[in-house]
Structure formats: C-alpha cells, structure tokens
C-alpha cells in the first residue's frame, strides 16, 4: 500500500519535472540561440495532448482505437474551414442558413472540440457494438472514410490541403507570437492532464478501468459498459479535436495527412512508448518519439528504414515503454538504497 502510494507520488514527480522542463525551455532556448526548437517543442506538446486523449480510451478503457486521426483532422479542418470562409469564401450556407466564417479562436476552438466530439460519438456508437479485432479495423476504416471524404472535397483543397492566412485570434493573447502560442499549448496540455487525473480518479474512471479488466463483472454489478465506453470515446475524440485545432494553428496549413492512418498509428506508438495508462506517459512518449523522428530525419533521408525496425524492437522488447523504464530505474535505486 505504502509502496503504491510512493510510486504514485513518484510518478507525479517525474511528470512535474518534465512539465517544468517544458516551462523553462523557451528561456533556455533563447539563451543558447535555439529559438527554432520552439516549433518542434510546440508540436511535441500538441501530439502529447492528442495522445493523452487517446490514452483515456486505450490505457484506461482498454479500447484500441486506430482511428484517432479522424478527430485530430476534424479539429484541424474546423479551424481551417472557418478561417477560409472568413477570409475568402463568404458565409457557409447550410440548409439555407448562412453561417459566417471566423478566425476567432474563442469560437473556432470550442467548435472544433464539439465537432470532433460529435464525430467520435457517431463513430463510437457504431464501433463499440464490436470489440477486439473488429474494433481496431472498424475505427481504422471509419477514419479512412473521413480521409477520403476530405480528399473528394475540392472546395476545401482536396488532396492539396488548405492554408490558413493567419493564426486564430485569441484575445488578449496574440497567437501570431510563437512564444504565446507555445505557452497556450503547454497551458492547455496541463489543463487536460489535470482534467484527466480527475476523471481517472472519479467514479467514471474507476468504472472504465473495471470494464477494461472485467466487463462481465461490471455488467453484473449493474453498470452499462456500452454507455461508459461511448462516453469515454466521445470525450477522447473531443480532446483530440482540440489538439487538431492547435496543430492547424501551428502549421497554418491543414491537409488530409492530418486525417491519415499513419497519424493514428503514431499516436498509438506515442502512448505505448510513454507507458500505457500513465498520466504523463503521453508527454514522455511524444517527446521521445518526435525527437527520435527529428534526429533520424537529420541523419538520413531514409529515416523510416531505421524507424520501422526501432518500433518493432520497442514492441518486442520494451513493452512497458519509457514510463516502465523510469519505474525500473527508480526501483533499482531504491533497492540499492535500502540494501
């Protein structure tokens, strides 16, 4: 019991340490003339945000969703489409109603979250009728459906994607300022992690983990697993949509690549790499994965030739992810301290 408590506090300590590193990074980077790393760091934070959302269903509800790119891309496209209509196309005409486009983040971001959440609700309602292998393949298939839908929409750039003319307006913040944008990403990630910690500790979180570990028993206890899983899936999709809204602002460009299935795979890898079902795992995983990718790209044009086997090795031999490694190191240290 005491050991478990200690480990939990310890886990928070690791997470806080990593958080502090990201908090201090812009100052460090400025000191060493590494301002260009802000873009990469912001990307890490955004991927960590999306992976945290995925971790809610993957780590705590045991649902292997291979389609989270759909929600990520949906969030990105909502922001981009609203901005596009604001700048160029004029109001969106939907069933005779005229909806003006907007570049205002106070409207666009919540709308991105809402659309991604509703999409997750619809897809989840169908996918959760199945389980296991079927669930993996069907989430993947529906995400591809969204992908092909956007490819076939010439108004929104089709395969070429859509450029934003500027970052969203989030008064009083100026998101055009890279530093302000970076801290917005960090703040939102902190908010989501705090929210997730609360959800995981709540009755809802315990019910999810119970369903993950023994669905039949939870049903016998009178909990409807389908509704719990669907709620978690929709929530996860909504938060992934927020990450999508941020990535659209970071790159000031959206393309079907944000909806494509390799992105779903990368998010899964980030969660696994950081350690599944750990609060700070996705941040650790995103940092490790994006840095690895960055360095491999610097090193060789054929970086995927190296990345692929590295992934295979991680899956085969490092199942607990980096979070597990941190635990192992600490246990080793504690062990030697006691002995």
């Amino acid at each position: 019991m005491a050991d478990g408590l200690g480990r939990r506090l310890g886990g928070h300590a690791d997470g806080l340490l990593l958080g502090l590193a990201f908090l201090a990074w812009p100052a460090v980077a400025a000191g060493f003339g590494l301002e260009w790393t802000l873009d990469l760091a912001a990307r890490i934070l955004i991927y960590a945000l999306a992976a945290s959302a995925l971790n809610l269903v993957l780590g705590y509800a045991g649902l292997v969703s291979f389609g989270h790119a759909a929600f990520f891309g949906a969030g990105a496209y909502v922001v981009a489409i609203l901005a596009y209509h604001d700048f160029l196309l004029g109001p969106i005409v939907l069933f005779g109603l005229e909806i003006p486009g907007t570049g205002n983040a106070w409207i666009a971001f919540p709308l991105a979250v809402l659309v991604a959440g509703l999409l997750a609700l619809a897809i989840g309602a169908l996918c959760l009728r199945t389980s296991g292998l079927y669930f993996i393949m069907i989430t993947l298939a529906f995400a591809q459906m969204i992908y092909y839908l956007f490819i076939s929409l010439p108004d929104y750039g089709g395969e070429d994607g859509l450029s934003l003319f500027a970052r969203s307006e989030l008064r009083p913040l100026d998101l055009g300022d890279d530093l302000a944008f970076y801290y917005l990403c960090l703040g939102l990630l902190a908010l989501v992690l705090a929210g997730k910690a609360a959800v995981v500790r709540s009755r809802f979180g315990w019910a999810l983990m119970g369903i993950r570990d023994n669905e039949r028993r939870m049903t016998a206890l009178g909990l409807p697993p389908y509704r719990y899983k669907l709620a978690a899936f929709a929530l996860s999709g909504a938060v992934t949509g927020l990450a999508g809204a941020l990535i659209a602002n970071l790159t000031e460009f959206v393309s079907p690549a944000f909806l494509s299935w390799p992105l779903s795979g990368e998010l899964l890898i980030i969660v696994i790499l950081g350690g599944m079902g750990r609060l700070y795992g996705p941040l650790l995983g995103a940092t490790a994965f994006l840095l690895l990718e960055f360095w491999l790209k610097e090193w060789t044009e054929h970086w995927q030739l190296a990345l692929g086997p590295i992934l295979v090795l991680i899956v085969l031999y490092a199942r607990g992810g980096l979070g597990g490694l941190v635990d192992l190191l600490r246990r080793g240290r504690e062990g030697s301290g006691h002995g």
């Binding site: 292998l133 079927y134 459906m145 696994i272 992934l311 295979v312």
Partner: protein, 306 residues
C-alpha cells in the same frame, strides 16, 4: 445510362472484387488461425507488384515476372514470419498493430531505396493487351477479363484446398484448437509459416495483376489494405467464404458508386452540387456498406464458429 455501360462497370467491379478477395484471403486466414493483425500484408502486395514489374522489364515477359513474384514474395514473407511475426502470435492485438506498422515503414523505405520513388510501369502480356468483344459493340479489356477468370479459379482452388486436402484440414484444425493439433504431433510452427507464405503468394498474385491496371508505386499496399479490412469485417474474420462474398460486394459498391452516383444525384440536384455530393458519397460508399452490415450483424455476414 446504357446497358453496356452498366455491364462494363459491373465487370470492373468484379475485377476489383476478385483482387480484393486474393488479398483478403491470406489476411483473413492469418487473422482467423493465428489471431494476428498484420498491417504489413499490404506491403507484401507491394513487393509482389514491384518484383513482377522489375522482372517483366528485365526479361520482357509479364508471365516470367508473375512467376518470379509469387515465390519471391512468399520467401520475403517467410523471412518476416521467422524474424518478427512469429514473436507476435502470443501478444495482444495492439502489439501486433504497432510492430507491423513498423514493418510497413521499413518495407516502403526499402522499396524506395531499391527501385526508386517513381512509379514503375508494368505492361500486360501481348496476348492480353487488346480487347474482347463480349457483346456486339461492347469491347472489354482482355487483361481485366483474365484477372476476373484467374481470381475466380484461385478462389475455387483455395476452397478445394481448405475443404479437401490434408493441409486444409490442418489449417481448419489449427484454427479451432491450436494446442490439440500440436499435441497430436503436428508441427504447428511450420504450419503457421506455410499459411503465412501461402497468403503472401496470393496477395503477390493480386499485386502483380494490379500492376498493369493501377500503378506500381510506394504506398500502394496501404491504399488497398483498408478496403481489404472492410471486406474482412463484412465477411466475418477468418471466413474464406465470407471474404469472397464480401469482396465482390465491396468491389461492386466501390466501382458502381464512383461510376453512377454523381449521375444519379444529377437527376435531382443541380450539376455542381451533384458532382461534389456524388463523389463525396461514393468515396464513403464502402464504409457506409460496412456500417450497415455491422448494425445488422456485428460479427460479419459469415461469423466463424466459437
């Protein structure tokens, strides 16, 4: 919309369908028997197409290319099975997805390094390069017709293999009870390698035949893998018969949707809306089909026993 156009598109749908079946057959066997999700199955399809294209150009013979593609892909698959996939049978599906995702990255990059980033050209053999007059005034590419016939023949052969031969009996027995089969003295590891290589050879056949119709390029495996997953989900995981029925359904839905939906919408909507809406809906048609089947039967049309 003339009768001839409908006939032509129906044949195109059948041709796409039997190709999907050739790819899906190996994948569904591996899924049903070894309980393994292999995302890299599409990579084997790509390897088959590239080997066929390369040997065809070198020897100036499509048939030699085809003859080389099948054993080469089966060999690659056996090596992958021995090195990586074998360690994944006992793992959960998430591990399998991630490890085979890693394999895809490797295969795509390796293919790019060997054959370059540009698509390869693959011509059909001379005796199939023309057209066949099915009905008076309705020419149809001979090669596509050959693909349909080969696909149907292989489907029949596979059905006979699984139901009538000793290997097929072991495959079915291995699917229902792995421990029992291995307790009876069957080398189950070797059986798995054989099934994996057999599936790879089928998918290589599909890849080689796809070459002259579509293009031989990096990533061709992934674009076909998703419709194949749809086929397997609709058919029921592990069911060859289900994969066959579902493959034809998906093939026809895909081709018919793309050919006729914009026109059908055009009857009731203004042209620009109709073409946008038509192409959008036709892009989603096979997924809508899948959703409909799942609402009706969550375990597919032909769910395996147990």
């Amino acid at each position: 919309m003339s009768f001839l156009l409908i006939l032509e598109q129906t044949l195109n749908g059948l041709q796409f369908g039997v190709m999907l079946f050739l790819i899906a057959a190996g994948l569904t066997l591996v899924l049903g028997i070894m309980n393994l999700v292999n995302l890299a199955h599409g990579s084997l399809y790509m390897v088959g197409a590239f080997v066929c294209a390369w040997v065809s150009v070198e020897t100036d013979s499509f048939l030699l290319g085809l003859a080389a593609a099948l054993p080469a892909t089966a060999l690659v698959a056996s090596v992958v099975e021995l090195l990586v996939v074998r360690r994944l049978y006992s793992r959960d599906h998430l591990d399998q997805v991630l490890a085979t995702f890693g394999l895809i990255l490797f295969f795509n990059e390796a293919t790019k390094m060997i054959w370059g980033a540009r698509p390869l050209r693959l011509d059909p053999p001379d005796f199939l390069s023309g057209t066949v007059e099915l009905l008076p005034g309705a020419p149809y590419p001979a090669f596509r017709l050959a693909v349909i016939l080969v696909g149907l023949a292989v489907a029949l052969g596979l059905f006979l293999l699984v139901t009538r031969t000793r290997l097929g009996m072991l495959i079915r027995a291995g699917a229902s009870n792995r421990e029992m089969v291995s307790a009876l003295g069957v080398d189950i590891d070797r059986l798995y390698t054989v099934v994996f290589a057999l599936g790879a050879a089928l998918t290589a056949l599909a890849g080689a035949m796809a070459g002259p119709i579509y293009s031989v390029e990096i990533g061709m495996g992934e674009s076909v893998l998703i419709p194949v997953f749809v086929v397997i989900v609709i058919g029921g995981i592990g069911s060859i018969r289900g994969a066959f029925v579902a493959a034809l359904l998906v093939g026809l839905t895909f081709v018919w949707g793309r050919a006729f939906l914009p026109g059908l919408f055009g009857l009731v909507l203004e042209p620009s809306t109709a073409s946008t809406l038509g192409s959008a809906i036709s892009a989603m048609a096979i997924y809508i089909l899948m959703a409909a089947v799942l609402i009706w039967r969550p375990r597919g049309l032909f769910p395996p026993h147990g």
